[in-house]
Subunit: 357 residues, 2 copies
């Protein structure tokens, strides 16, 4: 992998609002992603041009990604410890986080039989159409994920930071990667322990993992890392819950996914669990008869949504989100973290838990 | 990942025969693999014990592996440049190569719908039985591969060698990983360019990749690396051809796979291609009618084998193997490689191209 071109500086106290900070991170990370895909496109064309549809599907999904939230949390963690530390390494790790997410999404979408991702056909569907064969599409999608995973590790393995930080980085990445795979395994095999699945699957690589990668780059103390973990856990759970609320009640325009897809998939969310526990027997039976049916009609899905709403699950979920938010904010009250970084993270809490998409 | 326990020394001029050398490598690598799986088993039990069937399937296939050929080629490459260089790093990279191979085999077997691997059910089949659901088995198998890939990169990322060697190592691993994925993509999408598929898929990670990893650990000169590449290319091709010959004419006891599986799969080998070009029209039509039929009977498969034999494909393939072997041996004639390492590699050439299993 070639070294990156000089970077737009991401950090610094003049990025006063979280939104401005997010914009700068997005610019830096997307610039790096474009460079990476350009180089890999060249390598792939030289080695096996016939495989370009696979690479392009992986690239398109990556570049269709929106918020670049995970790199932003990583950069914010750096700001909590040593603002501006190793900007090239940080941009590479930020790009690696986005490639890692695409890799996971591609494999997950095939496993969950999810036809749409980020407002367009998911990779196994797009490649299935290209090869006019669903199994070949699935194979090429798995390989597209595998290819992104290879790129992730070329980036992580090539990061140039002092030895102890590099070791911490590799360790944090490995922990995150293994956790998210275990979480997905629990999820796909229909394990009942939702909280554990969320912690392993969403918590680890949405908030905790990226922050600990930032901590590694910035050479954070054990105390700073502990504060970040205490902050990350409730934020990850709140983020997941907001995702579930949007999945149940959001519009397709907001989420990029068909309305009520979570109901058709029979996704075992806190909302559904609450509804099943609080609805009367007749409503519960009706809800049960709709959940998990891929062929449920539009009006059935809307009926499921109304039943979940009636159970009080939505208000309950909003209360839980609020409680998580309080826990996040009090974890930030640590002298091991720099004040400007803490302010930024506090802004993120609002942004992530109140978001509408 | 914890550091390894002190190692049985692998290298040294007293391992006079390639077989003795292979035995020592096997001992060192398998010891490290056991340590790694023990640690990961502990981590996994703590994080999500319900996922242990996935880990165990991945572990069992890895430990069922036989020759540990790839690590041996890596150690031999080290012997060509700086015998005994960084033995702990070498053992870790050797273990990573075996984990990498298991990862690829698991994903490939699902893609190719291969029910048997190394004399037992392949991972997607074993997990499909465990979960009593073929799709869940496939998902858990893909995740088992993903998990091994994560371990591979924890090992590669944690290797402690001087900076320039580490960079060369990460670069060589990344190149190998990307090439083998491209090769598999060509293979699975039924590309006609067999030679390119072999070079990318088998050549890269059977011979060239492992040797360049050894070269990186030993700090090889560009000239030494070039000599290794010149040696690796024909050896990889000869190895693949031997594999195809065994796949067509070997017994189940030797190969660990059902007789004639390659015919039932319709595998596009040099043997089949030669037969199709040299058989008369009637024989060709008969062969064509058997190839690629999963439900072909035992006697049909034996008939296909007889037709391929009659075409002269087997003698032709043996001639080609011999020509590759000559190219290997002449590439070894380089002053950039140490004499004892070259002797070892020359022994490997015979072992690998004349093997019967």
């Amino acid at each position: 992998m070639r070294p990156p071109t000089p970077l737009v500086p991401v950090m610094g106290g003049d990025a006063t609002t979280p939104r401005m900070f997010l914009d700068r991170v997005r610019t830096a990370v997307e610039e790096r992603l474009h460079e990476i895909f350009e180089q890999v496109e060249g390598d792939t064309t030289a080695a096996a041009a016939d495989t370009l549809p696979m690479l392009h599907a992986a690239r398109d999904l990556t570049l269709r990604g929106g918020k670049r939230l995970r790199p932003a949390l990583m950069f914010a963690a750096i700001d909590c410890v040593e603002p501006g530390a190793y900007p090239h390494a940080a941009a590479d790790v930020g790009a690696a986080l986005e490639l890692f997410q695409t890799y996971l999404l591609i494999h997950d979408d095939w496993m969950d039989n999810d036809p749409v991702r980020r407002g367009a056909p998911s990779v196994h569907v797009a490649l299935g159409r290209h090869y006019n064969n669903a199994h070949l599409g699935a194979c090429a999608a798995i390989l597209a994920g595998d290819m992104l995973c290879a790129l992730v590790h070329e980036l992580i393995g090539s990061v140039e930071i002092p030895g102890p930080r590099r070791r911490a980085l590799v360790h944090a990445f490995g922990r995150m990667e293994r956790e998210v795979i275990l979480g997905q395994c629990l999820d796909v095999t229909l394990n009942e322990d939702i909280q554990r699945i969320h912690d392993l699957k969403t918590g680890s690589y949405t908030v905790r993992g990226p922050m600990l990668l930032g901590a590694a780059i910035a050479g954070a103390s054990d105390e700073a890392k502990r504060a970040m973990e205490l902050f990350a856990e409730p934020l990850g759970l709140a983020f997941q819950l907001r995702d579930d609320i949007l999945g149940a009640f959001g519009s397709e325009a907001d989420t990029g996914k068909p309305v009520g897809g979570d109901f058709r998939e029979g996704k075992n969310t806190l909302l559904v669990r609450h509804a099943m526990e609080h609805l009367g027997a007749t409503d519960r039976a009706e809800l049960q008869s709709i959940l998990g049916r891929r062929d449920a009609t539009e009006s059935e899905v809307l009926r499921a949504r109304a039943l979940v709403e009636r159970s009080g699950a939505r208000e309950h979920a909003e209360l839980v989100v609020r409680a998580y938010r309080e826990r996040c904010l009090s974890a930030l009250d640590s002298p091991a973290l720099r004040a400007d970084g803490r302010a930024l993270l506090a802004g993120f809490v609002a942004l992530l838990t109140e978001r509408t998409k």
